[in-house]
Amino acid sequence: MHNPQLNAHGELQHLLSLDGLPRDILTAILDTAEPFTEVAEREIKKLPILRGKSIFNLFFENSTRTRTTFEIAAKRLSADVINLNVATSSTNKGETLLDTVDNLCAMQADMFVVRHASSGAPYLIAEHLHTTKRHDIHVINAGDGRHAHPTQGLLDMYTIRHYKQDFTKLVIAIVGDVLHSRVARSQIAALTTLGVPEVRVIGPKTLMPTDLDKLGVRVFHDMREGLRDVDVVMMLRLQNERMNGPLLPSGQEFFKVWGLTPEKLAVARPDAIVMHPGPMNRGVEIDSAVADGSQAVILPQVTFGIAVRMAVMSMLGSN
């Protein structure tokens, strides 16, 4: 089956998922991001790489944070950024997803950054561009349903590499609501591709998808067992609407059992880092003492996120 993310030369055509992306491409993106971190420290935070290109932020699901980081990344590469909040516009008037895409193509878009509540929506757009032979337009998945959030996964990899260098010696734990998390799926795909020997996931059975072990991870339900001697703890966000209902009795109980507190973190390696994709629910998945503590690298993640998104955009723009 052809991989819709790669072009005929095996180069990145779209960034849709980290699952199925070869290790050399993942590494190339991280390497490309490296010099971009310095751009932010310059007096003029701009490079001319995407000058004259039009990037459409196509958000079918509300987001401020992710959309903003993509916007900053695109602007630092001198692209023109057009933000479309489709959640409140044409699709509510009955326009189909692909009609929206066709219209924006007619406006000479060069790149789409897509967020959608349904898993696979960016694939549908990429497939549509392929069948209509618009091979010069690229799609970046900015989060689709429960499926993937590849730039988040990449910035997490960048962060881990920054602090821990070698992926092949690490034990990493992902904690929380894996069932609904596109972030977790992208993290698992990237970590296993990059050669992390042990990826663990920790959480209640209600928040673990079926056959998760087939993705190459070890499943734990107990925090102290799962966190023992890990090098990296990656917390997931728990959505408010999932806290009280058939999946979980309450946010308080979740915090008591799976919330990351200094006591639970103590069983990890002393130099373990703590990550979170944001926005955090303090007192639900993470204790403030950890979130603000010396092991947290949550704010550097945000900074690296811009460099990683610049890297992805510049690579797509040149392929």
Binding site: L98, S119, G120, G145, R146, H147, T210, L212
Partner: protein, 425 residues
Amino acid sequence: MKIHIANGRLIDPAHEIDQQRDLFIASGKIVGIGSAPDGFTATRRIDASGKIVCPGLVDLAARLREPGFEYLATLESEMEAAMAGGVTSLAIPPDTDPPLDEPGLVEMLCYRAKKLNRAHVYPVGALTLRLEGKRLSEMAELVDAGCVAFSQANTPIVDTQVLFCALQYAATFGYRVWLQPIAPRFGHEGVAHDGEVATRLGLPGIPTAAETIALFTYIELARLTGAKLHITRLSSAEGLALVRAAKAEGLDITCDVSINHLHLSEMDIGYFNAHCRLNPPLRSLRDRDALQAALANGDIDALCSNHSPIDDDAKQVPFSEAEPGATGIELLLPLALKWGQGHKLSLLETLRRVTINPARIIGSKAGQLSLGARADICIFDAEGETTVTRERLRSQGKNTPFLGLNLPGKVCYTVVEGKVMYAEP
């Protein structure tokens, strides 16, 4: 018209016949097998040398989309598709709009179909009014109007008490109730088999237990009520095992599988291929293999197309938003042949699953070649090929996971009540 079908290899699973015999048709009926009746003069002679002559196929689930969904398909378009596929008898699920829950609707459907003079239709009436699972439909009236059985299509009854009563009432008359095993409140928000592929793709899952839980209920209620059941669209090895055990126990239960579930698995979803959004979902390779073996050994009685034409707009959306279903009536014969070849079955055994077996489930005399029977015939080239393309599909729906494939077998002629309704172009 009097037709002489000459030199063909006649295969009639109902009578265990597989040999070269000529067939003679007059006044819409079969009047001679092997030798012409006295004084027979053909007005048309069809040379079937090198071809298979068999009963017209019987499909247990063909949605013709009338009434209510004429924008998706019409009787005209789907009857053309049936003719091109050699299918001459169709059971129609009740999930039209409005559902087939009152005699007038059923009579109208039968009347419209008869006027078109193509495949015979066998409506399956709604078990409950509007398929809502609350009030029973007028089953006896519906049977008078032409219904052959009762079903809830894809809408399971939530209230077990109502299901129990519906089965009791149907059993009063000896009507067979066709039920798709779907637990009404378990995995109902899912869109794909709850397994590795759904986990990887982040698609909400439908556990196999959604099928088995429903089957436990159905089988227990069949025991209690004595109702005759037909389990439609089995999808899992576990579900199959329950039906097998119920049959072994002596309950009057039959079952079918669709062409999609016989050949495909969750792996075919690939990168969110919406053509593989089906109800029930495509399950694992292990399940698919179990279904294939069960159709071969007779645990599964019949193969059906579960024909569901859907327009492009409802499929060119993200996977979980896509409408479930696939067009398939034209692929019933080729996919039966493909399965039969894979299991090294004789053509006779292969054709049994799409002729006499489904006809018996409907309770119809269709699906066989006997003297005096309605002359519904399919003539096909077993060595030929059917290429599945949007352009060649006659169904208004172009939604099938088999697009682009070359499948074995090519229909040459379809004869309905002694009239040639399709001839290979």
